[in-house]
Symmetry: C2
Subunit: 251 residues, 2 copies
DNA sequence: GCGATCAGCGGCACG
DNA sequence: CGTGCCGTTGATCGC
């Protein structure tokens, strides 16, 4: 247990030297901004990062229960009963958090030196690049149209032409596809159809798809390919691509 | 600075007693699971919660750079050069994180007692309830259809009938609406239209809407209402609702 | 700066 | 459990 006075000093020291500040104590939290919230008293971990990030964590769950993004301004004060830690930010909207500690178990701060950024493998973008190189896996004669894809409003994952000269929009999902994936594909196809004035095929590729989504997909005249891929450490690789038989759903 | 041996003991102690464990040190991080990633050496904060949650935080940004959800299993060991902290989970997919500490600056663990849950005000659901009570703000004669809304596949925010007996789907957004909001509304309207066999009106309500989205909305024959609301502490209140004039966009 | 979209999205509620 | 969808979504990239 630490006196609120000591805690105050410790937090101030950390903030002044732009260090990572950790506070553990019994507190209640109020938030007001895009929404508003109140959290009654309990033990929580408060993390304040040098960039202004402000995180209140409970003992469970991944997500912070209350938070403030980078660029927020932290301040500390002592009132008659509590240690008050506030975080305020004005942009994009005015938001305010107040953490009111009645007890503080621990305070410390640390300088952090870290210039590294994450190298991630298996993103949708990376998978799309892989798939671009192997469009024949979907269908022989499919050839990619470079950079056309990025010229749309909401850019299409892959744009290609088939052997008959039809435009083909390919929507790639790295995880199971749902209704939203189909509506997204539909929007792209309709935009392009209107713009080009001719029929455009739509193909959805994903590791899996929900029953409703597949039904809607077929209803709209689109095609589905089940995508098998593997993500090893330095890259991601497409293992297979299999057209789902439409007949199963006809009724 | 703490010896890796001490760090090992400290972490084990915390894990065994189901406390919140904090580790600060210089480490590299590898992840493999739904995707894969590598993060080169730097100073990071590791948070391990009693429920298995595992968070690696850099000095910037709100989101953890690597993480593992509740239910994950943490283990610690010492190899020839480093302190290895691993987190593993099998469901829903096998995932693995390895944090390799070459230096540890701080380790501690804390029991946390907290049974409180967040009271949040200003959620979309709460706004929808408010709006249900004041549908006349949109248009006189609009009456809500109870519980119809939840009987759809992707449930509609509000379903109502107008004075002419038309079905009206109302999609409510608590923040600025984009193309996705319009496609969502469109899907609901089309589903319902097909099911009921008669024309269904679609109305989008949000604090704001992007130009492209409004264009698409009007193209599809839907209506837009600008929604002004205020979120005070114990509730959220709708301040106003104003139909946007379509004429501005005709060309 | 806004706009659009992805995310190892997470979390929740419902069937 | 999967499905669907909101989120104080956050983060990124393009314009």
């Amino acid at each position: 247990m630490i006196s609120l006075n000591e805690a105050l000093a410790g937090i101030k020291r950390g903030l002044d030297s732009s260090e990572l500040v950790l506070v553990l104590g019994k507190c209640l939290v109020k938030y007001s901004g895009r929404a508003a919230s109140k959290l009654s008293e309990g033990d929580r971990l408060l993390v304040i990062k040098p960039d202004g990030t402000f995180l209140v964590h409970q003992k469970s769950k991944m997500a912070a229960i209350n938070y403030q993004g980078p660029g927020s301004k932290t301040s500390v004060e002592l009132n008659d009963c509590c240690l008050l830690v506030k975080s305020e930010r004005l942009k994009p909207v005015a938001e305010h958090i107040e953490v009111s500690f009645s007890k503080v178990f621990f305070v410390d701060s640390f300088p952090m030196s870290d210039d590294e950024s994450l190298k991630l493998f298996g993103s949708e973008k990376q998978l799309a690049q892989e798939l671009m190189k192997d469009l024949h896996l979907i269908e022989p004669g499919l050839t990619p149209l470079k950079n056309e894809s990025s010229s749309l409003k909401g850019s299409v994952d892959i744009l290609a032409t088939d052997s008959a000269g039809n435009l083909v929009v390919i929507e790639l999902k790295r995880r199971n596809a749902g209704l939203d994936s189909v509506t997204q594909l539909k929007r792209y196809v309709e935009e392009l159809q209107k713009r080009k004035g001719k029929r455009v095929r739509g193909i959805l590729c994903s590791p899996n798809i929900t029953e409703n989504a597949l039904k809607m997909l077929y209803n709209d005249g689109f095609e589905y390919f089940k995508l098998d891929y593997e993500v090893s450490n330095p890259s991601s690789r497409i293992k297979g691509l299999q057209r789902k038989q439409k007949e199963l759903l006809d009724f």
